[in-house]
């Protein structure tokens, strides 16, 4: 890709990057929220709900994201769920990420020492207070590394949204690649961009871990 071409395509690439971020960060937030809801549902919703959710989560985790996206985008209308590409992409990321977050957070809740909850009981905290003040923050600290990892995974999965014509980075850059026949350069640029984003996410995660280092032990 020569420099003139690069300059010409810069606005389009920037727009693609923006869409990628708009899919990724809200998708990540929704996934974490959905994951938390599912994890709580499995833990406190009784045996039947636990079994049903385990089955559903297994199905989501046992199928490729691409296939889920097809089902959502092309299959949705058959059950009255007509979504535009961005909506389908966001919902898809939330469901896919949520399934993983649910398992990560469930493990996090289970890893909080029982004694910390007993101390809360003895201090007179209600179950809701114990959840909000003890279990949630301790779980969040425990899952931070796995959570950062999930953030990176979801960021890279946004590339799949190009398949359902979400105009994100991959779609924009591969588009430029095909119109200029500079496929290799386009792919290279794409890889570097995702890699830089991954490194930035990792650095942010490490910074957070350093900040809570005083809290990690004990």
């Amino acid at each position: 890709m020569n420099s003139a071409l690069l300059l010409d395509s810069l606005p389009a690439v920037a727009a693609g990057f923006g869409v990628t971020m708009l899919m990724w960060l809200p998708g990540l937030s929704l996934a974490a929220l959905l994951g938390l809801t599912l994890a709580l549902g499995r833990q406190y919703g009784g045996r039947a709900m636990d079994a049903v959710l385990a089955l559903l989560l297994g199905a989501v985790r046992g199928t490729p994201f691409l296939v889920q996206l097809f089902l959502l985008y092309y299959g949705g209308p058959f059950i009255g769920l007509t979504l535009d590409p961005a909506e389908a992409g966001l919902l898809g990321l939330a469901i896919y990420g949520g399934a993983y977050f649910a398992e990560i957070m469930r493990g996090g809740f289970l890893a909080v020492p029982r004694g910390h909850v007993e101390a809360a009981v003895m201090a007179g905290l209600s179950p809701a207070q114990t959840l909000r003040r003890i279990l949630l923050p301790e779980m969040a600290l425990l899952i931070l590394p796995a959570g950062v990892n999930m953030a990176v995974v979801l960021m890279k999965e946004t590339a799949v949204l190009s398949i359902i014509t979400v105009p994100e980075l991959t779609m924009v850059i591969t588009g430029i690649g095909s119109s200029t026949f500079a496929f290799t350069e386009a792919a290279f640029l794409l890889a570097v961009t995702y890699w830089v984003l991954t490194e930035a996410t990792g650095a942010a995660g490490r910074a957070m871990e350093r900040r809570i280092a005083t809290v990690r032990l004990a």
Partner: protein, 264 residues
């Protein structure tokens, strides 16, 4: 003799087929230190946890400050499970200190002590903080208020845990092997705080392997074995020679380690 602060009658508890507690009848009297000693697996920690209803006894009755804990006799003598709110209310008379400290790691020492003052007693922030600081001072940790548990030694963590329990002004303090995860030096600082608490007249029930502490501080000593009370009396009575074979077997381990205190 003073009134019992905590009274157990025929308390039994099984884990599966294993009978951990078998018909325990025991009073912890007001203002006294009751120490529970015995070999590992004798049921002493389970007994203490029953006193806090962290374990539910499956037979017998427990009364805390005159009120039934967990179960009460129904009209025809059957066991009625009391509502959770009622259990929580009776539990308010009890403070508990755990072997593993169980401080909340994401809160400072001050935060740990303030938490229930704010959330449960609903004190205004300034008042809660003053009370929390006063209780940290009581365990000689006024200067560690801003430290997180991970920044404190085991002995300091345990003293924060004691302050956390004391801040809620319990009438009875339960200690579940409070020094078992500490080295001897740190054990000393925790035992000093407990001794001071005893001198102040706190009613205490202590599960401990610190036989010296039990011999010197307790007014009431209970030797448990296989879920039953084998010996029950003042330390002088329990340790009176000749020792019954089981007590002798238990104490020999301590004498081996140089607990000369007991060699009357």
């Amino acid at each position: 003799m003073t009134a019992p602060a905590l009274r157990m009658q025929g308390v039994g508890k099984s884990f599966g087929a294993h009978r951990v507690l078998d018909g325990i009848t025991l009073d912890a009297r007001q203002g006294e230190v009751t120490c529970l000693i015995g070999p590992s697996g004798s049921g002493k920690s389970t007994l203490l946890r029953c006193m806090a209803f962290l374990e539910q006894h499956d037979t017998g009755w427990i009364e805390v400050l005159g009120q039934p804990l967990g179960f009460a006799p129904g009209p025809s003598g059957q066991r009625l499970r009391l509502p959770t709110a009622e259990v929580a209310r009776v539990r308010r008379g009890i403070g508990m200190v755990f072997q593993q400290f169980n401080l909340w790691p994401h809160m400072t020492a001050l935060g740990n002590v303030m938490e229930a003052l704010r959330l449960v007693l609903r004190l205004p922030r300034a008042e809660a903080e003053a009370r929390a600081r006063a209780n940290l001072a009581r365990v000689d940790l006024a200067n560690r208020a801003g430290h997180y548990p991970a920044q404190l030694s085991g002995g300091q963590q345990q003293r924060v845990a004691i302050a956390r329990a004391l801040a809620l002004a319990p009438k009875i303090m339960l200690f579940d092997e409070p020094t078992s995860s500490l080295d001897p030096e740190l054990t000393g600082e925790v035992l000093r705080v407990m001794r001071r608490l005893a001198e102040d007249g706190m009613t205490m029930v202590v599960v401990t392997h610190e036989i010296g502490f039990a011999a010197q501080v307790a007014q009431h000593l209970v030797f448990l074995e296989e879920g039953r009370i084998a010996l029950d009396g003042t330390p002088a009575e329990v340790f009176r020679r000749p020792w019954p074979p089981r007590l002798a077997g238990f104490l020999e381990g301590y004498l081996d380690r140089g607990a000369a205190l007991l060699a009357d």
